[in-house]
Symmetry: C2
Subunit: 340 residues, 2 copies
């Protein structure tokens, strides 16, 4: 076979605070020979996601840290280019966790590592976004924690991101008012005009919690019943000031604190005063919900009801820079790396 060398990116060192490109190293390694039961996948796209920041550090988190010198973890979509498994044929489109590299050798017998997908109605890259982990994350937090009733108001931060965009659109579908928080007028305009949110607040236009909270009040005249949290910090404080009785917060991410900056919650007594429920979750721990979520998301993308946007880095060497940009909100929609 012709697929003999593999470019990959490994974690070279752990960041002290803000990560830099020097924390990564590009390597060229041989593609190992396939063993019985294995398939070789050539990656078309690599997914970049905020959770990867957590894996770079050694501090306590829900997942083990990424080992130094090993290929960075990450979701991938691609095509089977060689197979010694009866379950996969050359040419199959697959989604997996191949990591930051061009090729992955996968043990096809191990359940859940590799999944065949149909690209007739859904583009391959969408399986890393709206019809993949980000989409299911949005679906789970919205339907299982926030569980909006018709007419309620749902706010989501990082609203133009892969998760946030899906949260608002799924909330609208359920009859709720969807309000985004995003960074910049361009993103906010797109969230309202293209994704159909009812309103979007540009947090960069507000210097403090008081000002942001006032903007949220105007965007949410009936208060806030559900909040899907991706960022933490000032946005969380401002949302809590507008939270209604019995409101729910789904804690999905707190990107503003990923570099170790303290992000205290100013007034936890509001949880009591408003009888709120605040719940953290990791979508990989709720596999039983994935089939229902993927069915709804796949259908919605196929029919054009669920919209999304992608920011695509051109090759593997561009992945570190793209990832650092994602942590700063430089991406617009789902951040991908194109590998082929």
């Amino acid at each position: 076979m012709s697929h003999t060398t593999n470019q990959r990116i490994v974690l070279a060192s752990r960041p002290a605070a803000e990560p830099t490109v020097d924390n990564f190293r590009l390597e060229t390694v041989p593609v190992p020979e396939l063993q019985d039961g294995q398939v070789l996948v050539r990656h078309h796209y690599l997914s970049l996601d905020p959770y990867m920041r957590g894996r770079m550090s050694e501090s306590k988190s829900y997942a083990n840290p990424q080992p130094l010198g090993e290929t960075m973890i990450g979701g991938t979509v691609g095509e089977v280019v060689a197979t010694r498994s009866p379950h996969f044929a050359v040419g199959d489109h697959v989604v997996g966790m191949g990591g930051w590299q061009q090729y992955a050798v996968v043990d096809a017998a191990q359940r859940g590592l590799l999944r065949k997908v149909d690209t007739t109605h859904v583009p391959l890259s969408a399986y890393l976004g709206a019809v993949g982990m980000p989409g299911v994350t949005a679906w789970y937090g919205l339907t299982q924690i926030i569980a909006p009733k018709e007419g309620e108001t749902v706010v989501v931060s990082a609203a133009s991101g892969a998760v946030g965009g899906a949260v608002g659109q799924l909330a609208k579908k359920r009859g709720a008012r969807a309000v985004g928080v995003a960074g910049g007028a361009d993103k906010c305009r797109w969230v309202v005009d293209e994704l159909g949110f009812d309103a979007c607040v540009d947090y960069k236009a507000h210097a403090d919690v008081r000002s942001l909270s006032q903007a949220l009040k105007e965007a949410c005249p009936n208060g806030i019943d559900g909040y899907f949290e991706n960022v933490g910090g000032m946005v969380l404080d401002a949302v809590m000031q507008r939270a209604n009785a019995f409101s729910r917060i789904a804690m999905c991410g707190m990107i503003s604190g990923y570099n170790g900056v303290p992000i205290p919650m100013s007034a936890p007594q509001l949880i009591l005063i408003n009888r709120m429920k605040v719940q953290g979750f990791i979508v990989g721990e709720h596999m039983e919900h994935w089939p229902a979520a993927l069915a709804e998301l796949g259908q919605a993308v196929a029919t054009g009801a669920l919209k999304y946007r992608e920011t695509v880095a051109p090759d593997l060497a561009a992945a570190p820079e793209a990832f650092l940009g994602l942590l700063k909100g430089k991406n617009f929609g789902k951040q991908l790396v194109k590998l082929i």
Copy 2:
């Protein structure tokens, strides 16, 4: 009838920060004549509870503020001394919300205002504590939010208080490890020796979160699965540092912040990292659970399985001082005012 004058305590002014005795005023007023359907209750005991502090202020909370010049709100137990209702007879023991006064005229037809209680096996005062609102509060937060599994560890703050003491004993009954946090060696000793908690940490012996967190680690070798929050501030931060994956916090009170001192939660990202659920509640909004809770609590007190302690102020004039002491943790167990 001979019950013609009534002493009562009204809210004279709102506290700027820490309340003082000057915020209250003792008045003597005539007892009004009974109308058809009304009963006159002579109070034996008045209950003092932390939630009353919230009612003294005008700031937004779950309940309307206590109006100035009107009788302070509060739970009471007493005896019917005159009746124009077919539902109550003179001599009936009753529990109600009679407020800070010697007598209350109650519209007996209005459901839920007055409840007849049996003092054969349960002392009358216990209906303001272990078999009353504080007991049901403990029961609801423990069973409906924390829902401990056998072998899990449940921590409760203000552990020697009316609510906290019940939380730990109910947790033990369900096979959990019960660990208290209380102020002072005397209270801690009593919580362990008399109430049967597995351990109790004296927060006054710790100057900072780090030290308190270390003490909690020793008291909770398997981490913390459930936390019943009555105080907020440093104790909450320390508990969260020891929280296990999928742990639950029932937010019942945050007395450390009642005077307007900021009590930020230092690391809300732990809610995400540990996939915690943090939920506020007010027991009066869950009346459907009261019968089951009161049945268990009444049975447990009658058989001696559920223990409690009372601090009793001698007369109505002593109520303000006793209430201010309660807010500072000067009480030991349920704080009552004896009126007869």
